[in-house]
Symmetry: C2
Amino acid sequence: MPRTITVGAAQLGPIARNDSRKQVVGRLLELMREAHGFRCDLIAYPELALTTFFPRWPIEDERELDSFYETEMPGPETKPLFEEAARRGIGFSLGFAELVVEKGRKRRFNSSILVDKTGRIVGKYRKVHLPGHSDVMDRPGQHLEKRFFEVGDLGFPVWRAFGGILGMCICNDRRWPETYRVMGLQGVEMVLLGYNSPIGLGDPFDLDALEPFHNHLVMQSGAYQNATWVVGVAKAGFEEGFNMIGQTCIIAPSGEIVAQCATMGDELVVRKCDLDMGAPYRADIFNFAYHRRIEHYKLITERTGAIPPPETT
Amino acid sequence: MPRTITVGAAQLGPIARNDSRKQVVGRLLELMREAHGFRCDLIAYPELALTTFFPRWPIEDERELDSFYETEMPGPETKPLFEEAARRGIGFSLGFAELVVEKGRKRRFNSSILVDKTGRIVGKYRKVHLPGHSDVMDRPGQHLEKRFFEVGDLGFPVWRAFGGILGMCICNDRRWPETYRVMGLQGVEMVLLGYNSPIGLGDPFDLDALEPFHNHLVMQSGAYQNATWVVGVAKAGFEEGFNMIGQTCIIAPSGEIVAQCATMGDELVVRKCDLDMGAPYRADIFNFAYHRRIEHYKLITERTGAIPPPETT
């Protein structure tokens, strides 16, 4: 019996700072209905899909900051999404800013959830690789994820869902081969990931022009090297004065891009994904048990930063 | 002061089963002289550059098998290469089959050496990720590296040489992100790697057509994700009835291919490589010390093969 997931990658165009949750959820619902029309089993939304990409501003006011986070999921404003999903029998993954209070302390994570076709949350992930900085810099655009989020504390779990083994990661996670490998070692067959990748922040090195190339490069190699589908979903376009890349795509276990958005706005691309397509790779060139040599990989988990060999004198 | 290495990637066309070492070394010398004319500091040769790709045959006769291995380096037949290198002041990396006798036991490795401008061996690597099989299969072309070589026992070392930090790996190693990462954690700035990548062996899955795409994909992502130069050098063309890919290339720390061969024969491509080109990446998006989260990577060194989560009942 073929094991397939028909997935919709639901790119979002810009979300304005003052857009309400209701407005945004309305857009998500519209994409969900379109995905349902295409018989999707699952629709994947971007990172921080409910608000503008707020870590670009050094927000000082705590009440304002909190307004970008969800304290419950579903909450009153996101409930329609869960209800519509259950009604139509379609699952979804959704990125959002998560605020939890533990022992009187606010904890903030850049999170995503996986929701099954009955509207039940079956998986949660909290972003591990937070990019950017914790300190405010003297420039118009920031990337203050290290300021506004804690490092995720759930590792890189996978879940049996939709007839396969699914994992999630978020944005900058996709640049790190460790992300895919940890999931690959749990047999992942489809990785859902959302991203907000701003360009033109005035970084000390001006490699912005390569960002679209790097975006696909890391997802394609992550897919191929772990024989998994990768669904990469952007929040795209010109948002509050900043450009963000698009290129939402669905990547096969061969590393090939087999569906891709072509706009910078709300756009759905759909692909029927054969979960067994990765099997020949797993049985041969990427048969981990047969080929991996963990005795030679120790530095990867022993050493965080690079340490060059001593200078010879 | 700019730190640069002008490197020549010296692709080789086919080597016949009966070609002598002298014939092959003659071709290597010719490429070395050409590289010297381009003011190269260093010329990189392919994997198993002194013979045909012999692991395609289930060779039973031990004397015949031994004839494909080097028992000393330099030996009488390879000495001219070392002498020419010293005379012209050019370094080289060279892949070869290595046979050493330890405690009366023959040990065989798929090795490469790094030789400095004085003709002195400054680094040795033994291939870790041996592809293919140890058992002979019922088909014309084999990939019997697991039969004819032991797994390398030297890890993935790097060396201070040519004014930078250099590493080596071989062929199938390049498909594994762990390879580059272990060197990246030692601050590698240039990875030299040779390969013989046959296609059309009649593998159970017919993804040969994607081999050239995969070849570049894994080297480009390895370069970008570790902000290192990668020099990938093929033995190419139609050798003893089997096709091997070419695509010899030099890849910048951006992941961009900045030089590439266009034939399937002996061909040199040259590039002046700025070793500091990776620095902006290391200081920012790939600042390992700042961003890596080794507490979440443990499976990579704890688990060899993939273990899917238990089936839910």
